[in-house]
């Protein structure tokens, strides 16, 4: 499929300008390609960290859940349910801000605001609550930081993916639209200029021939 030509005057000046634009476009595409590579490398790093955190979280949550089940086995489902609905829920505040990351991209950043924990008494009943419930809750508390970090990482990954997709679109636009368009316009102008040159050459040759004929005719009349 041939690329669409630009609407330009087929002049030598225009040709030079187009060639300059093509060089510039190819330079931009190279820079964008390098940016893309940097972004992909940081995406891989973020993904590795996210996978590590997710595995860690999965392990802790699994252990915590298993302790919760143990609490049910020891104290019965009714008691665990009762303790669950009557315990004051813990509120977690998460502060959102933005931080500058790779290539100066602004990533959303989440920060857990830790609240003062009362050390005067355990959260659940001392007498009725099995220790497994406290242990399960405390394990979950310990991984809240990791959960917030994971959320922050996922937001950064999403942002990175958007930037990568934008860069890829820009590179593709330059490589597969702008450069072929410029190439086709340059080819067209070169072709037109060549045509003009050939016509000029013919015209010159005709003129020269006519001039020659005219001079020969004048020479003949003068000799007579």
């Amino acid at each position: 499929m041939s690329a669409e030509r630009l609407e330009v005057h087929p002049t030598r000046l225009e040709l030079l300008a187009l060639k300059r634009r093509k060089t510039l476009a190819e330079g931009i595409a190279d820079i964008l390609q390098k940016d893309l590579e940097v972004l992909i490398i940081s995406l891989v790093k973020y993904r590795e960290r996210a996978t590590f955190l997710r595995t860690q979280l999965y392990d802790v949550l699994l252990r915590s859940y298993s302790q919760f089940i143990e609490a049910e086995m020891v104290s019965g489902s009714l008691k665990v349910k009762e303790l669950a609905v009557t315990t004051t829920p813990k509120d977690f505040k998460v502060e959102t801000s933005s931080s500058t990351g790779v290539l100066g991209i602004q990533f959303p950043s989440l920060k857990l605001i830790k609240q003062e924990v009362s050390k005067h008494k355990p959260r659940l009943s001392l007498f009725d609550a099995p220790i497994q419930l406290e242990e399960a809750a405390s394990k979950i508390n310990d991984v809240i930081d990791a959960i917030v970090e994971l959320a922050s990482l996922l937001a950064a990954i999403r942002e990175l993916l958007e930037v990568i997709s934008l860069k890829r679109r820009q590179i593709n636009r330059i490589r597969f639209k702008i450069v072929p368009q410029l190439d086709s316009t340059i080819d067209y102008i070169e072709y037109i200029l060549e045509e003009i040159e050939q016509q000029d050459a013919i015209r010159v040759r005709v003129l020269q021939r006519k001039r020659k004929e005219r001079s020969e005719k004048s020479d003949e009349t003068s000799s007579l």
Binding site: Q67, I69, E70, E72, M73, V74, G76, S77, L78, K81, E82, L83, V85, T86, K119, H120, K121, P122, S125, L126, F127, D128, P130, I131, Q132, E134, E135, S138
Partner: protein, 359 residues
């Protein structure tokens, strides 16, 4: 106490003991599905309650409820067949379940739950059963109003004294602790009324339960690294491990040294105490849940010990040991049912069963 006091209750105990599920059969239930457990239970002493509670629906919650109903029926039978000091002691033991239900009511009222939801969590045991709790809750929808309705009854006096704290800090712990303390004080007071031999046996069996609760509270405080300053307020009345020993154990730096301190202090005391604390010291590096399990099993071990030691038929040990064994059986069945409902593997389930030592 004269054997005549035992003339009606002992045949009942003997009869009920025969109905206890054989340990081997209980072990065989581990890993079976709910339908198989249901089929097994309908052929045991639990059949009546299981059929009436579950009907065609086999659910862990309903099975648990049926087990409690059976325990309540058995306990009421014992109360009916007992008299005098034995009846008073059994009534004081029954107050443990009253305390459980009252605490449930306080917590759920504080959490703003409605009456229907609260009643679902009331266990059908003790004098504060669903009907009584419903009557209280229909008239009273605040903790203050509930306490007001308890004023003329068993726990009203103790709870009134602690109510101001609850109003000030919105914390139910002092109220709950006061309730538990009142219950255990009541049990210890009733034990004092027994004759010399029965008093010793009952102190051992009920005492180890109270002492292990105190140790559990200390361990919980230490494990959760909670402020130790107000730990003493949360301790129950003491039995064989006195307050000075508990105080010195609280001062120890970590769980291991706390257990070692307690173990040294019970060296001259009862053999079961020695065994339990020796085991705790040996496993002091285990998770706190494992230590709690050993402590919870202690009353059962004491019951087995007293049954073996004193073969004389007419004594309070038979009654209290039977109650401990029946309660352990219900906890074991509940454990097996909940394990099945949550697909827990058999080995882990077996670890959490209350089985006789060296089974």
């Amino acid at each position: 106490m004269k054997p005549a006091r035992y003339s009606t209750i002992m045949p009942r105990i003997a009869l009920e003991s025969l109905k206890l599920i054989d340990i081997d059969e209980l072990i065989r239930l581990v890993g079976k599905n709910l339908e198989e457990i249901f089929s097994f239970l309908v052929n045991t002493t639990y059949s009546e309650e299981i059929v009436s509670t579950c009907g065609d629906v086999v659910e862990p919650g309903l099975l648990e409820e049926a087990l409690f109903q059976n325990f309540a029926k058995t306990f009421n039978n014992l109360l009916k067949n007992s008299s005098g000091y034995i009846n008073n002691l059994l009534m004081s033991v029954l107050h443990k379940f009253d305390a459980l239900n009252l605490k449930t009511m306080f917590r759920m009222v504080q959490a703003g739950m409605d009456v229907e939801d609260i009643l679902q969590h009331i266990i059908p045991l003790g004098t504060y059963d669903r009907i009584k709790c419903q009557a209280i809750l229909l008239k009273a929808n605040t903790i203050s109003a509930i306490l007001g309705s308890l004023q003329e009854q068993d726990f009203g006096f103790f709870l009134k004294q602690k109510f101001n704290f609850q109003i000030r800090f919105g914390d139910l712990t002092p109220l709950e602790t006061a309730l538990d303390k009142a219950v255990f004080k009541g049990i210890l007071d009733e034990i004092k009324n027994l004759n010399r031999k029965d008093k010793k046996i009952a102190t051992n069996i009920m005492g180890i339960e109270i002492d292990t609760i105190n140790v559990k509270i200390i361990l919980k405080f230490k494990a959760l690294m909670t402020n130790l300053d107000n730990i003493k307020e949360n301790l129950m009345p003491v039995a064989l491990i006195d307050e000075s020993i508990l105080e010195s154990a609280i001062k120890e730096a970590d769980i291991k040294s706390t257990l070692q301190r307690l173990s040294r202090s019970v060296e001259t005391k009862h053999q079961v105490y020695r065994n339990v604390f020796a085991k705790l010291v040996k496993e002091s590096d285990s998770p706190i849940s494992r230590l709690e399990f050993i402590l919870e099993k202690a009353p059962l071990e004491m019951s087995f010990f007293e049954l073996k030691k004193d073969m004389r038929y007419y004594n309070i040990g038979y009654i209290l040991s039977f109650l401990n064994m029946k309660w352990a059986e219900i906890k074991n069945l509940r454990c097996v049912i909940n394990a099945m409902a949550r697909n827990v593997d058999s080995d882990k389930t077996l670890d959490l069963l209350f089985l006789p030592e060296n089974y």
